[in-house]
């Protein structure tokens, strides 16, 4: 029972943390709940479809379909997150300002809803497929099935709980700082996912590794452990990263930060011009 709890918890973790952060980042946006719920539902349906066609997917691209699929989803999420973070750095200041002035939540922002839907859906889809396959395996397994099922449900529960805990913690941050904190978290999240995408492309032999084990911190926090999984999601931690993975990580980080800086400067000059008139 315990092993199935851990497996499901590990898989649910990523989606739960991603949803926790993006929910905090879009706090107060109208119809947010609907968008997130829709994303989760679509994600679960998508995950079941992926699980159903897992062998078809695996046979594609000369047996490397699974790797390419994972890399593709991760890269789409990275681009969406990058876009969202840059967008928020442009409008976030306004929204926060407005929110603290009126003392109530922000009631605008059509853009974050689509992004939110997409992010939640893809996050659930990717990790959900593994959960569905695992559960199928248990159901088909026989004897200890009910114990394993109980473990899985508990794993799902604790995963979701952790997502809620992160959200609850984040929304305690004063609105003034909330946008900067969630923006920083989303940038790290995106960079880590870019690194993971690189890992899949290396595995499929589409990219050179440029050196495995640039460092090895397995003795401190190993990849398979729960702290390792949490850190992997939150900051892209890998106990034994490949060179190419680091390159993807750092490039994504710099590109998003650069983009944020650029639009902020643009925003400021636009405001100054407006005030001068």
């Amino acid at each position: 029972m315990f092993s199935s709890l851990i497996i499901v918890f590990r898989e649910v973790l990523e989606a739960a943390l991603v949803i926790g952060i993006v929910c905090a980042a879009t706090r107060g946006v109208k119809f947010r709940g609907l968008s997130v719920t829709g994303g989760i539902l679509i994600g679960v349906v998508g995950a079941s479809l992926v699980a159903l066609f897992v062998d078809t997917l695996a046979d594609m691209a000369e047996g490397m379909g699974q790797e390419l699929f994972n890399a593709l989803i991760l890269l789409v999420v990275v681009i969406t997150l990058a876009w969202h973070t840059v967008w928020m750095s442009y409008h976030g200041a306004e929204l926060a300002d407005q929110a603290s002035k009126t003392g109530e939540s922000v009631k605008q922002g059509r853009e974050p809803l689509t992004v939110l839907f997409l992010l939640v859906g893809l996050a659930v889809l990717r990790e959900g497929a593994e959960v569905v396959l695992f559960l199928y395996g248990i159901a088909a397994g026989g004897s200890s099935a009910s114990m394993m099922m109980t473990g899985s449900v508990l794993g799902l529960f604790f995963g979701v709980l952790l997502g809620f805990a992160l959200y609850a913690g984040l929304v305690r941050i004063p609105t003034k700082h909330l946008f900067s904190v969630t923006a920083a978290m989303l940038v790290l999240l995106a960079s880590g996912m870019a690194g993971q995408a690189a890992k899949y492309l290396i595995q499929a032999d589409y990219l050179p590794a440029w050196g495995y084990d640039i460092w090895d911190s397995s003795w401190l926090v190993s990849n398979g452990s729960i702290p390792g999984e949490i850190l992997r999601t939150l900051i892209g931690y890998d106990a034994r990263p490949a060179g190419m993975q680091l390159l993807f990580y750092v490039s994504t980080l710099l590109l998003i930060l650069g983009g944020m800086k650029l639009v902020k400067r643009h925003h400021r000059t636009a405001q100054e011009r407006y005030q001068a008139v």
């Binding site: 497996i7 062998d55 695996a58 047996g63 490397m64 396959l133 695992f134 199928y136």
Partner: protein
């Protein structure tokens, strides 16, 4: 104009040649077969040549899916029930590289030995 055409031709030849070289390299990759039966890897110990790319063919004879995972070899891949999957590994330095089946970690354990 002529030089541009030449360059294009060179590019085409190089691309073709490297594609050919790539498929040759793929064809020459040594393959090792591992069977999954009753959530156990058979053989649980596979000796492969060091410092070269190697293909692991994982034949899952169980009706349930399994996830092949190895932190040391940087690989994780799901193999559907009654299906076969290919995992490219290496070039590995000489040494021992443990792997396991994530969905049945208690029984599905193995090690790749690079020599």
């Amino acid at each position: 104009m002529a030089s541009a055409k030449n360059r294009l031709l060179t590019l085409a030849v190089v691309t073709l040649a490297s594609t050919f070289a790539f498929s040759l390299a793929q064809a020459g990759t040594p393959e090792f077969r591992i069977i999954i039966k009753d959530h156990v890897f058979v053989p649980a110990e596979v000796t492969v040549p060091a410092n070269t790319k190697v293909k692991l063919i994982i034949d899952n004879q169980d009706p349930t899916p399994e996830e092949f995972e190895s932190h040391e070899m940087h690989r994780e891949k799901i193999i559907a029930g009654n299906k076969t999957a290919t995992i490219l590994i290496g070039p590995l330095k000489p040494g021992k590289y443990p792997f396991f089946g994530e969905f049945n970690e208690d029984t599905a354990k193995g090690v790749v030995i690079a020599q």
